[in-house]
Amino acid sequence: MSFYIASSPHHHQRRTTAKLMQWVLIAMLPGFLAQLYFFGWGVILQLLLAIAVALAAESLCLLARDRAPSTGLQDNTAIVTAALLAVSIPPLAPWWIIVIGTLFSIVVVKHLFGGVGHNIFNPAMAGYVVLLISFPVQMTAWMPPTGLATQAPSFIDSLYLFLFQFTSEGFSLEQMRRVDTGAMLDAVVMATPLDHLKTQLSQGATLSEAMQHPQFTGLAGMGWQWVNLGYLLGGLLLLQQRIIQWHIPVALIASLAFCALLGSILAPDYLPGLSIHLFSGATMFAAFFIATDPVSAATSSKGKLIYAGLIGVLIYVIRSYGGYPDAVAFAVLLANLCVPVIDQYTRPVTYGHRKEQG
């Protein structure tokens, strides 16, 4: 009788890439649900369309590259990219925004560089930056979180705004804003906390004046702090499941916190403090879900610390001195560029190669 031949090891941990990606999606749930609660139905519409476009684009790219889509799609990486991008953009941005972003992420950033495992840049963040630069108006039109909005758009209105940029009664986002002009708040569209602070500070207001705005309650702004806490929770789940290692989130948060503390000691009136930096914007999302993308991150443990530390510093610098209110996408892409150099200089010392005394 003939026996089956295989190369050692004959035993394998049953944890495939597809399973890892499933865990990432599961871990996104708390943050995603917080976003859904505070920012309405648009979040889910963006997600569904992004996933559909990503799967279609992935299949076509795999076909064009002579790979079997059936096996290529199994790794779930396209779905994760789509989900990461979908939760990054304003929930009521028109449908073509997410379509363009997803296509760019999957086709250009991922497959034109050689497919999964070969992309230099984080696909979701590269797609996000393309959208932010190309469509700044749509990409900064975030809604006020539930609780501040005078009227939250219904599911039907959200769907209409998403598809046609008009509500079922025929108002555009801009018109809805004007309807409510008398009110202190924008009705549907509002600057994010970081955006608001940036604008106010650049107009000469002090930090405490800028934070008079009613959205600054709790740690770091209504809604946003909960979204951040949600992603923190999901991130801890990833750590507990050993889907990600501690190096990147810890280094990113630590370096950002260090910069924020230093800034608030040096210029407490003009630079936002620790809690704003950590729990507003996309900080936790970046620390656990974006920077931890294995493909575009540094590989060695030491390299990961440097890489994530660099992202933290860049986030702080761009937020404080750059032209954009949030900086995660730019910081991650810039750090992606440094990865080959970081990898080159952080190779671990192989067993027996250590110089020892005695």
Binding site: Y4, S7, S8, H12, T17, D75, T299, P348, T350, G352
Partner: protein, 652 residues
């Protein structure tokens, strides 16, 4: 700084490592069994690292249990022995217990069931013997490292100087395997005695026994054995220690329990766990004062020294869900695997794998006729469900799980890219050679990349390439030597031709001056002319046919013999023509022969003694260079072998 370990000294951590399911049960639950004698034993001459011994039996011979089948040959190869009494029915090529599936010379022994022993010679007075004599005995008993690679124990001990610590490795970190576990539980006392013999031989100051914390019963057995061991009993009679430094030798064994983590049984890893030190690259543990032996080796040493028994059997674990009665058994070397499996109730399933060794480092076999050899510690027959073969390889997502798992602090992922790109320089730079092929990286890889397979292939390719380079270097040296010789010969030939030409010119000049001198004498010339005329009248053809021309012929021919000369001259001319032709033919032949000679035998030039001398020198230089290259290659091979050994003994 000397290595020192105490019962309470700190344990270190090696980087990486994994926790695969151990699955030592149920194989480790029952006592080591002893199966009936198999109907036929296949004892291969090659069972260990190093050269084979020389065959000293013939087909039809009746041999006794323990009788040597081979004797140490020219290269001091380890002998193998008849593992029971019986008749040698054949000596032929038989499948080897090796991943290659190649065959090797094997003695087929049909047991007669009497188990009649060849005379045994225990070393009762070991203390009176020198280290060398005891090592010779171990060599004659065929003792090799039973942990993995099978490095001859005597050679390992002889090569180790200034040993501080002798570590007896009972870690057995590879899943499924329970051979050492059972041996330690049942024979801790003998292992301890063997360890003391090894300690005496190595003059190690300390004796450390290391066991993983998942074998509490084995540890308890050792604790008991150590308690029973009386330190003073034979301490005073420690005559083997030449420096008389019995006092500095602490014979109280230290039992160290190390945390379970694969591959903590690896020689290098265990050294790091126990001492925090690393074996330097391209070095041996002895370089940092450490020698490691497997528990089963220590047991075999005890049997050889105290009972005079050669290495005839070993404990083999037969396990896996395709086996009905998994367990451990004493297997005679040469027992075919299918006999062991049949005795254990093997039921092969679909796509059945039979693995020699454990699931992490073992190799699959196709032929179950392969025998148990000195390094066989486990026969694993898993079901398809139990150890699912890897799925199709997917793209690397650079997750870095492999790097976290690597106990050698390599970058498995980069090595994989480099191996796929066949970038051998890059692989060297990333220290591929330091990979111990433990399989931890491939175990954790979410993309199911068979990383170890890539490394093995790359290592083989690099080995091939190195051999090719050495070959081409030798060829280059030979070519250059030949070019130099040809150049020299050409110059010498030209020089010879030049001299010959000069001589010819000189001769011609002499002749011409002679001729002119003749012409200057008118009387003589006139006489000659008359004579010539007369001669012409009798022999008109002679002048025209003579190759020497009229002047020569005139000067040589004398009038007195002109009549006789007529016929003589004709003959002479014909002979001269023939000679010229023959000369030319000879020249052509010689030239061609030399050409052939040069083309076929570049070094062996036989033209002149002078050349010979020079050529001989050149050839000697080339030979010396080749010899040196060969020596270096051998040294490296040995180094590699010892690395493998390390690896093996670690996991054993």
């Amino acid at each position: 700084m000397a290595v020192e370990i105490s019962a309470t000294s700190k344990l270190w951590r090696f980087p990486g490592g994994i926790h695969p399911p151990e699955r030592k049960a149920p194989a480790n639950l029952n006592n080591i069994q002893r199966f009936p004698l198999p109907p036929m034993l296949f004892i291969p001459l090659h069972q260990h690292i190093g050269e084979d011994g020389e065959l000293c039996v013939a087909v039809g011979d009746y041999v006794l249990k323990g009788q040597p089948l081979t004797i140490p040959g020219v290269n001091n190869g380890l002998p193998v022995h008849a593992t029971t009494s019986g008749t040698i029915t054949a000596i032929h090529e038989h499948p080897l217990n090796h991943p290659s599936g190649l065959t090797g010379l094997t003695v087929c022994l049909e047991p007669d069931g009497k188990e009649a022993w060849y005379p045994r010679q225990p070393l009762n007075n070991m203390d009176a013997l020198s280290q060398r004599e005891v090592l010779q005995h171990l060599q004659a008993m065929g003792i090799a490292g039973l942990g993995g690679a099978g490095f001859p124990t005597a050679r390992k001990v002889a090569g180790a100087k200034n040993i501080d610590v002798l570590i007896i490795n009972g870690v057995e970190c590879e899943p499924y395997i329970a051979s050492d576990d059972r041996l330690m539980r049942e024979h801790a006392k003998e292992i301890l005695a063997g360890s003391h013999i090894l300690q005496k031989l190595t003059f190690a100051k300390q004796l450390v026994i290391a066991i993983e914390d998942n074998k509490p019963e084995a540890a308890a057995a050792f604790r008991e054995a150590i308690e029973q061991f009386s330190v003073t009993a034979d301490f005073s009679a420690d005559g083997a220690d030449p420096a008389g430094s019995a006092a500095r030798t602490n014979r109280q064994p230290i039992l160290k329990i190390v945390p379970t983590r694969y591959p903590s049984g690896g020689e290098k890893q265990l050294i790091q766990v126990l001492t925090g030190k690393q074996v330097p690259v391209r070095g041996l543990p002895a370089d940092i004062g450490i020698l490691m032996q497997n528990v089963a080796t220590a047991y075999a040493v005890e049997r050889a020294v105290n009972h005079g028994e050669p290495l005839l059997e070993r404990v083999v674990t037969i396990t896996g869900e395709a086996v009905k009665n998994p367990g451990t058994a004493w297997a005679l070397l040469g027992t075919p695997i299918d006999y062991l499996l049949a005795q254990s109730g093997f039921k092969p399933g679909k796509k059945q794998r039979v693995i020699m060794g454990g699931p992490m480092m073992g190799f699959t076999v196709t032929n179950l006729q392969i025998p148990v050899i000195k390094t066989t510690n486990c026969v694993l027959a898993p079901t398809h469900k139990e150890l699912t073969p890897p799925q199709a390889e997917m793209a690397c997502i650079r997750c870095g799980a492999c790097e976290i798992a690597c106990p050698a602090s390599l970058l498995p992922q980069q090595l994989q890219w480099l191996a796929k790109a066949q970038d051998y320089a890059g692989l060297k730079q990333h220290h591929l050679a330091d990979c111990i092929e433990c399989g931890a990286c491939a175990y954790v890889c979410p993309s199911q990349i068979p990383l170890v397979q890539y490394y093995r292939q790359a290592k083989a390719e690099i080995r091939e390439q190195t051999i090719e380079q050495q070959k081409s270097e030798i060829a280059r040296q030979r070519f250059e030597a030949r070019q130099a010789r040809l150049e020299r010969e050409k110059e010498e030939r030209l020089e010879k031709h030049r001299k010959a030409a000069e001589a010819r010119k000189a001769a011609q000049a002499a002749r011409q001056s002679e001729a002119t001198a003749t012409e200057q004498d008118p009387v003589k010339a006139a006489l000659a002319r008359v004579k010539a005329k007369k001669a012409q009248q009798t022999a008109p053809a002679a002048n025209t046919e003579s190759p020497q021309g009229p002047a020569g012929s005139a000067s040589q021919t004398t009038p007195e013999h002109k009549v006789d000369q007529k016929t003589d001259q004709k003959d002479a001319v014909a002979a001269a023509v023939a000679r010229a032709k023959a000369k030319k033919a000879e020249r052509d032949r010689l030239a061609q022969a030399e050409n052939n000679n040069e083309a076929e035998k570049p070094i062996a030039a036989k033209n002149a003694p002078d050349h010979d001398k020079k050529d001989a020198v050149a050839a000697a230089v080339a030979r010396a260079k080749a010899k040196k290259a060969e020596r270096e290659r051998l040294a490296q091979a040995e180094n590699n072998a010892s690395t493998t050994n390390t690896k093996g003994s670690d996991n054993g």
